[in-house]
């Protein structure tokens, strides 16, 4: 990027000086841009076409129309939500497309707020976000913090080092004595911890859990030999194997008794109803299937929306 400015009479000196000067100029430009970025909100994702029922929904929920809602995401899950490697100013993935489709259907725009996984629901509760569409499993526990509208079944993959040296076969006693990397707040954590009595009765030590705060850190833990396995959504695991085919593999896939859900505030039943209706319309129009195909997710993931709320 700096080769154009080399002065041939004195090339070396200039070559040494200009890159820095240019970088600073960029920096200053960036600082200048900062305010504009601040004002205009965060990265927007690409839009989609809209099903027919949406017009009626927009008429029914006019309060959402023209708004910009904030979607709290933990954008460390390629395939669901992550930066676009080709244009890091955008978020891409299945969840992003789904959220945009719901927004288009109801007439609002989506802004994104990247937070740690454990902070997704806190951010929603504090009002710093309006909605959470971030591959979060709708459990009874989590339903105490937010209402969920489910949209997908959960299939987990067991990520291990190439060759599966610890012979892990799922969330079962094969994990006794091994170390699992997980993200803080993931549903897999209590499931792995629940293996302790079984391990003990088998005379083995229990499984250890290392807690990280994003996907990349969990994958790095296996690559660095700190952890033996990382159990998470199967697509995430597949992406990791694709990135490091020589070092990682998927030992197996397991089904978890959960659904993936969209989190909405507990005190906004009307908004919840609107999102539910929009999701139904999107599923009915076949858009969700297209999105699954687009992101190479299995079609059997799809699940009819149901509410998970706690009282």
């Amino acid at each position: 990027m700096h080769t154009g400015v080399i002065d041939h009479r004195n090339g070396r000196r200039l070559a040494g000086r200009f890159p820095l000067a240019l970088r600073w100029r960029e920096l200053i430009a960036c600082v200048v841009c900062l305010l504009a970025v601040l004002a205009s909100g965060r990265a927007m994702a690409a839009g989609t076409t809209t099903p027919a029922e949406c017009k009626a929904l927009q008429a029914k929920y006019p309060q959402l129309k023209g708004k910009t809602l904030t979607n709290a995401i933990n954008p460390h899950t390629p395939g669901y939500e992550a930066l676009d490697p080709n244009d890091p100013s955008k978020y891409i993935g299945f969840d992003i497309d789904l959220g945009e489709a719901i927004g288009d259907c109801l007439g609002f725009k989506m802004a994104y707020k990247p937070v740690t996984f454990a902070a997704l629901l806190t951010t929603l509760q504090s009002g710093q976000a309006d909605i959470v569409i971030s591959d979060i499993y709708a459990t009874e526990e989590r339903a105490k913090a937010a209402d969920f509208i489910t949209y997908s079944k959960v299939f987990d993959g067991v990520l291990v080092a190439k060759g599966n040296p610890k012979k892990i076969t799922g969330i079962n006693t094969s994990m006794c004595g091994t170390t699992a990397a997980e993200n803080t707040g993931y549903v897999e954590v209590p499931l792995i911890n629940a293996l302790a009595p079984a391990c003990k009765s088998g005379g083995k030590s229990e499984a250890t859990v290392q807690l990280y705060d994003n996907n990349a850190n969990c994958i790095q833990a296996i690559l660095a030999g700190r952890a033996d396995t990382y159990i998470n959504d199967v697509n995430t695991v597949d992406q990791a194997v694709k990135a490091y085919p020589d070092k990682l593999e998927k030992a197996t896939a397991v089904t978890l008794p959960y659904s993936v859900g969209i989190g909405v505030p507990k005190d906004k039943p009307e908004f919840r109803a609107a999102v539910m209706a929009a999701l139904l319309a999107i599923q009915k129009s076949g858009m969700q299937n297209e999105m699954l195909k687009k992101w190479s997710l299995p079609a059997e993931n799809i699940e009819a929306p149901k509410l998970i709320v706690s009282n």
Partner: protein, 570 residues
């Protein structure tokens, strides 16, 4: 390497630097504000404020920043205060930096020598003037390195704002690493960016330190690094007395040409002449008691004449206790205008306390002090005075004070030590103040050292500057608190000589506490011998010193006289 360079120049990461800088700037700016408030609360003498500040410090210094960030971002909305991510990060970082910066500021303020504050007070500086002109300039110099440190730490701490969705460098790096799996090249790139930012802070710190370095005149900021320049500076200091001789000789000649123009100038000539002689003769300055002139002629006549004059200082029934110990016990003393009083007495006899009361640097428990007919310590409406009132009182009553430890403002040149207070306290314009400062420096034989910092002057020279500073506002009375006690023996003479000239030539009213008996004999009209906060004996100087009546006086004079005989023998 290619990937590393790719990420190093990736606009997405580079623009994250903007957020990092914004959070850091908010945190440091806010922290400075919080720190200023906390430091003033702790330095204030108001108990509850200090306790509150201490409590705040304990909480915000004692909890992790990451918790404070999450609190500001996620908890405050529940009480209706919904800040943007940057706002919440700026707030949390400010609240967290505040106590650290407060301690830095406090250390800077407390690091300023107490003596300089006393001198500032004695010169009539209000607390505000003192803060602005004496404390702040010195404190700022000492806190720059610590502030640089704190800035680097704040910059790095800003990365924690990534947990509350501030779109800064660290958050961008981790997200990018998650989506591209180029973990290491991304973090090396962002690490280098952080390094450049902290490097920039270090550079700013160095520049600030260089710009504030008093030992480097603005024009020679970098020249001083050259070895020959440094050698020359060293020579300057060694050669100071020798140069003084030459310089003063020249000034003498110049002054002589002006002599016809007025008696005032003629005085100056005489003075510089004698001081040059004293400095040129090393023996003269080594022997503290070898003073110019003979004891005042016609003592009896002068004594009678003084008694006719109005009182310059009248102390009646002055009582002062420190805790249970009585320092001044219903003390009475009257000083006539133009009179020179030598206060003698053992340590702890109350000499210094008396002088400090006369300048109202101390509060007393009972009794009255009048200076020039004005009663100290009460406003016209009879209410007690604030610090500010006291300062104004000192400035207007006209009591100058010279301290044992000189107490020059160490960040100011000799000339500024004199001219500064004239401008700040008495509102004299800059040109006039400068002229007055130079004139006084000439009188004490230090015109050639006008631009020297106190630390580059000898003790004797510093004390002469301090005397000039005390004289600058034309005080009614000059108080000298053991002016030569902190000096090396060979430097005593030059100071005593200056004081003597003030007495002889200016007829200045002076109260001098001293242990120099022969000096007292030559200069003082009257000696007041104190012990235990009381006057034991007083009378015409020569009589009292040669024929003391009270056994305590006799014993004291014997001990001191014996010392002096030893000291006087080279």
């Amino acid at each position: 390497m290619d990937l590393f360079l790719h990420y190093l120049s990736l606009p997405y990461l580079l623009s994250g630097i903007g957020f990092t800088m914004a959070v850091t700037a908010l945190g440091l700016g806010g922290g400075l504000l919080v720190g200023l408030v906390l430091a003033s609360m702790q330095l204030s003498k108001v108990g509850p404020l200090a306790v509150f500040a201490r409590g705040y410090t304990v909480i915000f210094r004692g909890t992790p920043l990451i918790l404070q960030l999450v609190f500001a971002y996620d908890a405050l909305p529940h009480i209706g205060l919904k800040l943007s991510a940057i706002g919440a990060a700026g707030l949390a970082l400010s609240l967290n930096e505040g106590p650290f910066i407060a301690e830095i500021l406090r250390a800077g303020v407390l690091g300023v020598e107490r003596g300089q504050l006393l001198a500032g007070q004695a010169l009539g500086m209000t607390p505000a003037v003192m803060m602005r002109r004496v404390i702040a300039p010195q404190a700022i110099r000492t806190i720059v390195p610590a502030l640089g440190n704190e800035s680097v730490s704040a910059l790095k701490n800003s990365s924690l704002a990534s947990v509350i969705a501030v779109d800064e460098l660290t958050l961008r790096s981790t997200q990018l690493a998650s989506s591209t799996f180029d973990f290491f090249s991304i973090f090396f790139a962002s690490g280098l960016m952080y390094l450049l930012l902290t490097g920039a802070i270090a550079l700013i710190q160095l520049i600030a330190e260089a710009a504030l370095d008093l030992d480097r005149p603005a024009g020679e900021r970098f020249a001083h690094l050259l070895p020959w320049r440094r050698a020359k500076q060293g020579e300057d200091e060694l050669a100071a007395p020798a140069r003084a001789e030459g310089a003063e000789g020249a000034e003498g000649v110049q002054a002589q040409t002006q002599a016809a123009q007025g008696a005032m100038v003629a005085h100056a000539t005489a003075k510089t002449g004698t001081s040059a002689a004293a400095e040129a003769d090393p023996l003269a300055s080594r022997a503290p008691l070898r003073l110019v002139g003979t004891p005042r002629p016609d003592r009896a006549k002068r004594y009678a004449e003084l008694a006719q004059r109005p009182a310059a200082v009248r102390v009646t029934g002055l009582h002062k206790r420190y805790g249970k110990q009585t320092v001044l016990d219903r003390f009475d003393m009257t000083v006539q205008t133009g009179e020179v009083i030598a206060l003698l007495g053992p340590s702890g006899s109350g000499k210094s306390t008396l002088l400090r009361c006369i300048n109202h640097l101390e509060q007393w428990d009972a009794g009255q002090i009048h200076v020039g007919g004005r009663r100290l310590g009460y406003r016209e409406d009879g209410r007690p005075m604030s610090q500010r009132d006291l300062a104004n009182e000192r400035a207007s009553v006209g009591v100058g004070m010279v301290f044992q430890q000189f107490n020059l403002f160490s960040h100011l040149s000799a000339r500024e030590n004199i001219a500064g207070p004239l401008r700040w306290v008495h509102g004299v314009n800059a040109i006039e103040a400068d002229r007055r400062a130079f004139e006084l420096l000439e009188r004490v034989g230090l015109a050639h050292r006008a631009d020297a910092l106190p630390r580059h002057l000898s003790g004797g020279q510093q004390q002469r500057v301090a005397i000039a500073r005390a004289l600058a506002p034309n005080p009614r009375v000059l108080l000298l608190d053991e002016p030569t006690s902190a000096l090396d023996p060979e430097l005593v003479g030059e100071v005593l000589e200056v004081i003597q000239r003030l007495a002889v030539e200016d007829g200045l009213t002076m109260i001098i506490s001293t242990h120099q008996l022969r000096f007292a004999d030559q200069v003082a009209d009257r000696v007041v011998f104190m012990s235990g906060g009381n006057v034991v004996e007083e009378g015409p100087a020569h009589e009292l010193l040669t024929h003391p009546q009270h056994p305590l006086t006799t014993r004291f004079l014997n001990v001191m006289g014996a010392d002096h005989r030893l000291e006087a023998a080279p």
